[in-house]
């Protein structure tokens, strides 16, 4: 079930007990996911829905009405309490490890040697207000905070935390999103597409960025994020893995790259971390940055119109309970009109479900277990 995360030079190395703590977090998560959460469907069908029908003479029609009855069910409240505590324990277990090793990790990040790529930080950079209101998915400090000089804690915490959180489902390098887009979509469906310049928006630790350097070895790959701590780590991580990426601290809503300077602009689960007006700006910026014939691909989890209302209700848990303020607002959007309003021709905008699990195909015969939803367009 839990494969080993790849131990590159920047990954924090837990002590025996720190690792045991992280193992517990994973087992607890698995138990909640397999044995507790599914029970809410039974509670809804047998208790919640009949109560609602008795009161309104009709079944619930949307996720809000389902929540209206479910929020009073003790079973749902216990599930939610356990999920929330599990998430808090996750960051606690990872933070303890990162904080203990931080001086060493900072030292390692400064050891540039023969650099392949670059790191450009902006000392005057303004963190967008929408990132400062709450710490996204309960990760203390979010993507953007710096706790000490030359900090790399946010990156180290995210790299290890994402792996523990997902029970390794993104693969040993947390790279399944980028890898699946390259291996299961771009290379097979566009064999002649050879982008010379690629931009990854909201790259965090560059986990999804690196597969593009492998898939398109001749391309110049850039990656941007708002957090300096995140980017220092991302750069050091890419160097440790021998990949050439140019990281810079920029807001995807308005970058400093010239018009038409990229052939491929991508993002991976960026859209649900920013409010709808920012999603619009990211679409506009994607359009501005693309050269004619270039392609934009934004990867996300599915939108609400892809789900029945009970699944929507379950998804919506993240909004208030896991500090995901824009999670539902973005899943309510129809992204296609946003792309056409940004300038893309209507017949060149499309949505697609791309098979995931490309990392698995590299190590075994088992591959996809699901899909990544993408909204994409060509200019």
């Amino acid at each position: 079930m839990m494969d080993q995360q790849f131990q590159h030079a920047m990954l924090p190395q837990p002590t025996h007990d720190e690792l045991a703590r992280q193992n517990f977090v994973q087992s607890l998560k698995m138990h909640i996911f397999r044995n507790i959460s599914p029970g809410n469907k039974v509670i809804y069908e047998k208790l919640g829905k009949p109560k609602f029908e008795q009161e309104h003479q009709r079944p619930p029609q949307n996720r809000y009405e389902i929540r209206e009855v479910m929020q009073h069910e003790p079973y749902y409240r216990w599930t939610s309490a356990l999920k929330r505590i599990n998430q808090e324990m996750l960051w606690d277990a990872v933070n303890a490890n990162v904080d203990r090793q931080l001086p060493e990790l900072i030292e390692r990040s400064k050891d540039k040697g023969n650099e392949l790529g670059t790191l450009t930080l902006d000392p005057n950079f303004q963190i967008p207000t929408h990132q400062k209101a709450v710490d996204i998915h309960c990760m203390p400090g979010g993507y953007h905070s710096e706790f000490t000089d030359d900090d790399v804690a946010a990156g180290a915490t995210y790299d290890r935390g994402a792996y523990v959180y997902g029970l390794g489902w993104l693969g040993p390098l947390n790279d399944d999103m980028g890898l699946s887009i390259v291996q299961n979509y771009l290379l097979p469906e566009y064999p002649d597409f050879r982008p010379r310049k690629i931009l990854d928006m909201g790259c965090s630790v560059g986990n999804s960025t690196l597969p593009y350097t492998d898939g398109f070895p001749d391309a110049e790959v850039h990656a941007i994020d708002v957090g300096a701590s995140m980017l220092r780590y991302a750069h050091a991580r890419a160097e440790a893995l021998g990949k050439r990426v140019h990281f810079s601290q920029q807001n995807a809503e308005h970058t400093n790259f010239p018009d038409e300077s990229f052939d491929l602009v991508v993002s991976h689960i960026l859209l649900h971390e920013i409010p709808p007006p920012s999603v619009r700006k990211v679409m506009q910026e994607s359009y501005r940055l693309l050269a004619p014939g270039g392609m934009m691909i934004h990867v996300e989890a599915p939108l609400y119109r892809h789900m029945d209302i009970y699944t929507q209700f379950i998804y919506d848990w993240e909004t208030a309970n896991n500090n995901e303020p824009f999670w539902s607002a973005v899943r309510d959007l129809d992204l296609v009109p946003l792309a056409t309003e940004a300038g893309f021709a209507a017949d060149k905008v499309f949505e697609k479900f791309v098979p995931n699990g490309a990392w698995k195909a590299k190590v075994s015969n088992s591959g996809s277990q699901g899909t990544w939803f993408v909204v994409a367009a060509t200019k």
């Binding site: 079930m1 839990m2 002590t15 025996h16 007990d17 045991a20 703590r21 193992n23 517990f24 977090v25 087992s27 607890l28 698995m30 138990h31 044995n35 507790i36 029970g39 039974v42 509670i43 047998k46 208790l47 003790p74 079973y75 409240r77 216990w78 599930t79 939610s80 309490a81 356990l82 929330r84 505590i85 599990n86 808090e88 324990m89 960051w91 606690d92 933070n95 209101a133 709450v134 710490d135 309960c138 990760m139 203390p140 400090g141 979010g142 208030a320 309970n321 500090n323």
Partner: protein
């Protein structure tokens, strides 16, 4: 110093105190799991070597088989501790 995530924390049970109690119980549950794992390491090392040192415990890395056995143990252990949460559902399913 624990880092705390910025943002409003919902109240799940009767009141914030009950929520705190559950968080404490789960932290304790986690620590028992940690303890179990450490003892497990010691026992396995004793079995192999008959000698014990802290560095040996720190250096021990479970192989795939041990990892699997430990995951199995943790799954059962968590199910045991949280049985009360699922009892409601079992009762409902039997009705």
């Amino acid at each position: 110093m624990t880092k705390i995530a910025k943002g409003k924390r919902p109240v799940y049970l009767e009141n914030p105190q009950t929520d705190k109690l559950l968080a404490i119980v789960m932290a304790l549950t986690g620590e028992v799991s940690v303890l179990h794992e450490r003892l497990d390491t010691i026992e396995r090392l004793l079995e192999v070597k008959g000698i014990l040192s802290a560095t040996e415990i720190e250096a021990y890395e479970p192989d795939a088989k041990v990892t699997k056995e430990r995951e199995q143990w943790r799954a059962e252990y968590i199910a045991r501790v949280l049985r009360v949460v699922q009892e409601e559902l079992e009762t409902l399913n039997q009705s």
